[in-house]
């Protein structure tokens, strides 16, 4: 069956969500753009999404300048933040869920998604577990997804979770609802 194609602009993140300030969204958008351009992609590239949702998302963004490249010189960090930005957009596009809360987890944030106006803090919400790969093949995406799903499965008292693995070389995203 033919995949449906959607369009998404990273600038959407700059508008913020209930649990994501416009400033934080802008940060994720810039990091994602830096990673995409690092992999030689240009505005309009197709992101292939599979897993629980199959579709193609045409990505748009403003061209990255030298200052931004300098700001995100730590590509490991940029990959993590950028993957979060892409994952948030894909989950909004495919599952109609937005970021409703965040918490601090290690160096990065832990994102929780849900429907606006429902639930309180982290109650009755789903986690968004994101992992970023700057450049890797399908095997690496598969390995990373399996690893994340296993972590979720092993835990007692499971929380509803979206596992998203974003790879910038393709670019590709695998989103699995658990």
């Amino acid at each position: 069956m033919a995949r449906k194609t959607y369009s998404c602009d990273l600038g959407r993140l700059r508008k913020g969500m209930p649990g994501l300030t416009a400033a934080a969204g802008g940060y994720l958008a810039e990091a994602a753009a830096v990673c995409l351009e690092d992999q030689k992609h240009t505005h309009g590239i197709s992101l292939s999404v599979d897993g629980s949702y199959r579709r193609t998302v045409r990505l748009g963004w403003e061209e990255v300048n030298d200052q931004q490249r300098q700001t995100y010189a730590d590509l490991h960090e940029a990959t993590e933040y950028g993957a979060c930005g892409i994952a948030i957009l894909v989950v909004e596009n495919a599952a109609r869920k937005v970021v409703v809360e965040r918490s601090k987890k290690g160096t990065f944030f832990d994102y929780w998604v849900g429907s606006e106006g429902k639930g309180e803090l982290f109650q009755d919400r789903a986690r968004l577990e994101v992992s970023g790969i700057l450049n890797g093949d399908d095997k690496k995406i598969e390995m990373r997804t399996t690893q994340k799903i296993e972590q979720v499965k092993q835990a007692k008292g499971k929380l509803p979770t979206y596992v998203a693995v974003v790879e910038f070389g393709g670019p590709k995203a695998r989103v699995v609802r658990k």
Partner: protein
């Protein structure tokens, strides 16, 4: 303020802090993070006795503890983690609280715990699933000690302006300047100090002190951990030294399971300089060497026993087991990376362009099958 307001204000402050750090404003970062810590701790305090309000109770405790770690307030982080675990956290959050506790302990060990380091000394600490208090698998530990020694020698030779040495021992002045002594392992997670010997009559031209080599090595390891290819290439402009550094540093990095954290500490001008390697080995090579498969090349995997190697003349080639395919080894990898795998069952990632195979990385097929060093 209620819990929701406190938490949201804390997250806003963390956002501001991250932005400040990106602009190099470290003081502002710390001040904002301290304010965020107050708010998030207050939010966690409000739910401390409400053990049924999960996952919110444990998530807020983990979040506050994480901010406390960033602020360097390790005792507070420890208390918050323990209090978070005392409730009924869902399994995933409980695991994350335990991981955070491991990090807190690791940072305590990086902080030297009363060990005083001289200018020619530095400490290495490792932590992870298979590393206990003062005990670690020999492979995980000894391999990293040997790799550290190789990195020091190569860094010294590069700093002294010597061309890359493809084979043979490090020159005598280097070995004299940087003769490495290792302390008795301490109960860190597992920590040892390295001391470099110093023989005045064997001074290496172009090199002021062994401390300079350590400083350079830690700067490069910091850039390596950030996958900051630009900085790393600025510091190591020679291609062979660069390949060698990335391949050795990759062996030093955590494997993600048995060793999850590797850290180095030096003591300069009254303060500890710490470098933590967190990027797992598997994430490293393609990101730093730009080994992206393209239209004319693809990555292939080959396995077998490393039983043929030819480093005569300008050749650098290996062959695995009974296979006929020759794998070319890039400059900078034969002596330090390939040779220790001799006679071992290995897994090789190679780039294939036409019929030519070029080594990208090589590792033991199974960690306990390594025979020769």
């Amino acid at each position: 303020m209620n819990t929701v307001e406190l938490h949201r204000e804390a997250m806003g402050l963390v956002d501001e802090a991250v932005a400040a750090r990106q602009h190099g404003e470290e003081r502002k970062y710390l001040a904002l993070m301290k304010r965020a810590l107050e708010r998030e701790t207050a939010a966690a305090d409000q739910l401390a006795e409400n053990k049924k309000f999960e996952p919110t109770r444990s998530v807020l405790h983990r979040s506050a503890a994480s901010i406390a770690v960033d602020c360097g307030d390790l005792p507070l982080a420890e208390k918050l983690i323990c209090r978070g675990l005392l409730g009924n956290p869902p399994g995933e959050i409980a695991e994350e609280l335990r991981d955070l506790l491991e990090q807190v302990n690791f940072k305590r060990h990086l902080a030297l715990r009363g060990v005083r380091l001289d200018n020619n000394e530095f400490q290495m600490s490792i932590a992870g699933g298979d590393v206990g208090l003062g005990i670690a698998p020999t492979d995980a530990f000894v391999d990293r000690v040997l790799t550290t020694e190789k990195l020091l020698y190569r860094t010294a030779e590069r700093k002294a302006g010597r061309p890359y040495r493809e084979r043979g021992l490090a020159p005598r002045p280097v070995r004299g300047e940087l003769e490495l002594y290792v302390s008795v392992p301490r109960a860190g997670s597992l920590a040892v100090s390295f001391r470099m010997g110093h023989k005045d009559q064997m001074r290496l031209p172009g090199l002021d002190s062994s401390g300079e080599v350590v400083d350079e090595l830690l700067e490069c390891l910091g850039a390596f951990n950030r996958l900051d290819q630009k900085t790393l290439k600025q510091r190591i402009s020679d291609a062979a030294y660069y390949t060698n550094f990335v391949a050795l540093a990759r062996n030093l990095a955590p494997d993600g399971e048995s060793v999850r954290l590797v850290g180095f500490t030096t003591f300069r001008a009254g303060v500890n300089i710490e470098v933590e390697l967190k990027t797992p080995q598997g994430e490293v090579t393609s990101a730093l060497l730009g080994q992206k498969p393209n239209l004319v090349s693809k990555t292939v995997r080959v396995s077998g026993r490393l039983s043929f190697a030819d480093a005569s003349g300008r050749k650098r080639q290996i062959r695995l087991g009974e296979t006929r395919e020759i794998i070319h080894v890039p400059e900078g990898m034969m002596d330090d990376i390939v040779r220790p795998m001799w006679g071992t069952d290995v897994l090789v990632n190679a780039r294939k362009e036409g019929r030519k195979l070029t080594l990208v990385d090589i590792k033991p097929a199974s960690p306990d099958k390594k025979k020769n060093k």
